[in-house]
């Protein structure tokens, strides 16, 4: 009864669903880990307990998010094989080492030192604890390095040859790792992760300020987040632009889909909105600004922009998806930059912490980073279609020899599980936020494990203030 289901399509939906859920957590924890390191550093430098209390609140949120990132990540490491066996077989020699190095250089590091970060307050010196936080923060970025390198290779493959047996063999590791789109994607994504955290944190800070709760903590939380909004959000515009130009060079069809341009033209207009119609090969109801597309893409008012008709129909990505998710991402980016500008003006007028409309604004934008990350990944991944390895291997030729019904059922199981589990996770994060920072000592660090005598003695001779 499920024989007529298309395994490739179901495999894509399953991968998209599981990876979309997964990416929310790394995107959040990459930024959060670095922020926690900054907080602990500020606390050690200034001795101001507010930093420590903010740290202790957010490290719990970090732990919940990280746990969900881990369990949804284990799924990913098996899904290449379950649904994309032909892909795994063909590219294993090229991509396998990148993923292997991710595990060896990042996952173990994060997992091991997270234990100390959460439960080690009483068991290691304050210096070692700070080192653990730093190591976890560095681990998250190393992890991003490898996985983005692997993803970028699928977008802009380099440094390989295809053998007579149809398998892909590496010819130059540096070309593979630092393939043409990797540096741009890496910077763009890590910055996106930092912004995701910053805007979520800003939303929470704004909520406390609005409610008049945890005033001192809220100022630290909100103030630090605003620094990110003011300086990093505009930088992301630059990184995004550079990434876009890189895509234009290596994956022009994707850019044409982002722009919704079908005919190759000079002085192409920027279609702000519209409805790209794949069959009719035109973008209907377009609202355009003359020449702007050419200006953005070629930095010349009369530059030539290729239209989608340059490529055979079978080689075009689903245009409407790419077109619209791109607009969502850019729109959210613009709102983020505006937040920075408003924040700066309010700061100069000494009203940053006391302006109600701005607090509502920031609360509304709390999920903006998550949405922008999802939208951005939709642009780049759907824009890569119909290829799994761009211009080399088609997605339709890469799937596993398994029946569609099997994928459909496992997809259903994933959907039910993820909504239940991650719904609960969001609920607990919400509760931690509602509770706010604890101002007196709580037992988190102790975690109910007895201090071994030697460490306990050391701590008491050192004064044990931080324990």
């Amino acid at each position: 009864m499920f024989d007529n289901l298309d395994p490739t399509f179901l495999g894509r939906v399953q991968f998209a669903f599981t990876v979309a859920f997964h990416i929310l957590f790394p995107a959040f924890t990459i930024g959060l880990a670095s922020w926690l390191a900054v907080l602990e550093w500020r606390w050690r430098r200034t001795g101001n307990e507010v930093y420590k209390e903010v740290y202790r609140m957010w490290v719990k949120i970090f732990a919940v998010s990280f746990g969900m990132g881990v369990v949804s990540g284990v799924v990913m490491s098996y899904q290449f094989g379950t649904n994309w066996a032909v892909f795994s077989d063909k590219v294993g020699s090229v991509l396998g080492p990148l993923l292997g190095f991710e595990v060896l250089t990042a996952f173990f590091l994060e997992a091991s030192f997270l234990g100390i970060m959460l439960f080690g307050w009483n068991r290691v010196s304050p210096k070692m604890h700070f080192a653990s936080t730093l190591i976890v923060a560095v681990g998250t970025v190393i992890s991003a390095f490898w996985i983005l390198s692997a993803n970028s290779w699928m977008q802009t493959p380099a440094g390989f040859r295809i053998g007579a047996d149809g398998l892909y063999y590496p010819t130059d590791w540096l070309d593979i790792m630092f393939n043409p789109s990797f540096p741009y994607r890496f910077v763009h994504m890590v910055t996106a992760a930092y912004l995701t955290t910053a805007f979520f944190v800003a939303g929470v800070g704004a909520y406390y300020l609005r409610r008049g709760r945890h005033e001192r903590h809220a100022r630290v939380i909100f103030g630090m987040a605003m620094i990110m909004a003011i300086f990093v959000a505009p930088a992301q515009l630059l990184f995004g632009d550079l990434h876009g130009l890189n895509t234009l060079e290596h994956q022009p069809a994707k850019v044409s889909a982002m722009e919704g341009i079908w005919e190759t033209e000079r002085g192409a207009a920027l279609r702000l909105f519209g409805w790209p119609d794949q069959k009719a090969e035109e973008t209907k109801f377009a609202v355009s600004i003359p020449k702007l597309s050419s200006l953005i893409l070629t930095h010349d008012l009369d530059g030539e922009v290729k239209g989608l008709k340059e490529w055979p129909r079978a080689d075009r990505p689903p245009v409407a998806w790419v077109f619209w998710t791109f607009r969502v991402m850019v729109g959210l980016g613009v709102l983020m930059i505006l937040t920075g500008i408003f924040g700066l003006i309010l700061f100069l007028r000494k009203r940053l912490f006391t302006t109600p409309w701005f607090q509502y604004w920031c609360m509304a934008l709390a999920p903006s980073g998550f949405l922008a990350v999802l939208a951005g990944w939709c642009v780049t991944e759907i824009g890569r279609q119909p290829f799994i390895v761009y211009n080399v291997l088609r997605t339709a030729e890469a799937g596993s020899p398994v029946p569609g019904g099997q994928i459909a059922f496992s997809l259903l199981a994933f959907v039910l599980t993820y909504f239940f589990i991650f719904g609960a996770g969001s609920y607990y994060i919400g509760r931690l936020i509602a509770r706010g920072p604890d101002t007196q000592e709580d037992g988190y660090g102790a975690h109910g494990i007895q201090k071994p005598p030697i460490v306990a003695d050391l701590v008491s001779t050192r004064g044990g203030k931080h324990v």
Partner: protein
Amino acid sequence: MFNLGGVLDLPMIWFALIVTAVFLYVLLDGFDLGVGILFPFAPSDECRDRMMSSIAPFWDGNETWLVLGGGGLFAAFPLAYAILMPALYIPIILMLLGLIFRGVAFEFRFKAAGRSRRLWDLSFHFGSLAATFMQGVVLGAFVQGVKVEGRSFAGGPFDWLNAFSIMVGIALVFGYSLLGATWVNMKTEEKTQEWARKSALYLFGFVALFMALVSLSMPLMNKDIRALWFSMPNLLYLSPMPVLSLLLLLTLWRDLRAGREYRPFLLTLGIFLMNYIGLGISMWPYLVPFSVTFRQAAAAPESQSLMLVGTVFLLPLILAYTGYCYYIFRGKVAHEPTY
């Protein structure tokens, strides 16, 4: 492009490394999955808190070995990965779902109160149980062989399901439970410890029984395995294996009766090692039994070379800081309730 293939037997080295990684996974996640299986049987909530606290700092690192097993297989033996994953599709997905339910329970349980805490207790238990059972089923299906045509799996979605694979699933549930019980026996005191010791004694009989069942049914099912173990002179060379296993089992029984704290856990690890080596000998040299050897499945020598260079530096480092973490959280879990 550097290539160590000329001087080193790369597929052999990688085979050894992957086999070791999977074994470390079995040992490390084995005891914390076992704790999850035993969880609802503990006498009180206080015991459960202590059991959870004893593994909370480690579970994440332990599970990373599973990611290394999957990622490493993909990297070093992509063909085996590409055949085994579709072949074992359903049990692997169920295992992953089980791991999700148990993994989140660590965080959620400490944050939940009252009745919802009960929910995460159940999630922890059934997640651990399902993951363990499915790992056993995967193993049981694996050793019976996988149908292959060309470079892909050629069987049906339920090829893995039969009485033997279910028996191995049950066997692993008892095995991990014993690991968990001896771990708790080592890491706790008083009531919890006493209960863990009794549980270990109870589980001991089942583990011995299932070890015997699995060890006997494998040569009965497969004539190559039978020939391997029961022909001369192999019988002589291999005889230390069952003898050692028996010795370990006997010592474990006596230690548990005598109320020893540390050695039962180490002995259980030893018993797992014996079983694992026994399986390894039976499967040699197949990575996809009985059609693809580890040499046929190997990635390009350039790929294995690159990873080997990295692994030579990284693996000792990983083992060192993993050991450091176990050292930091050594000793007994305390009386006071967790946060």
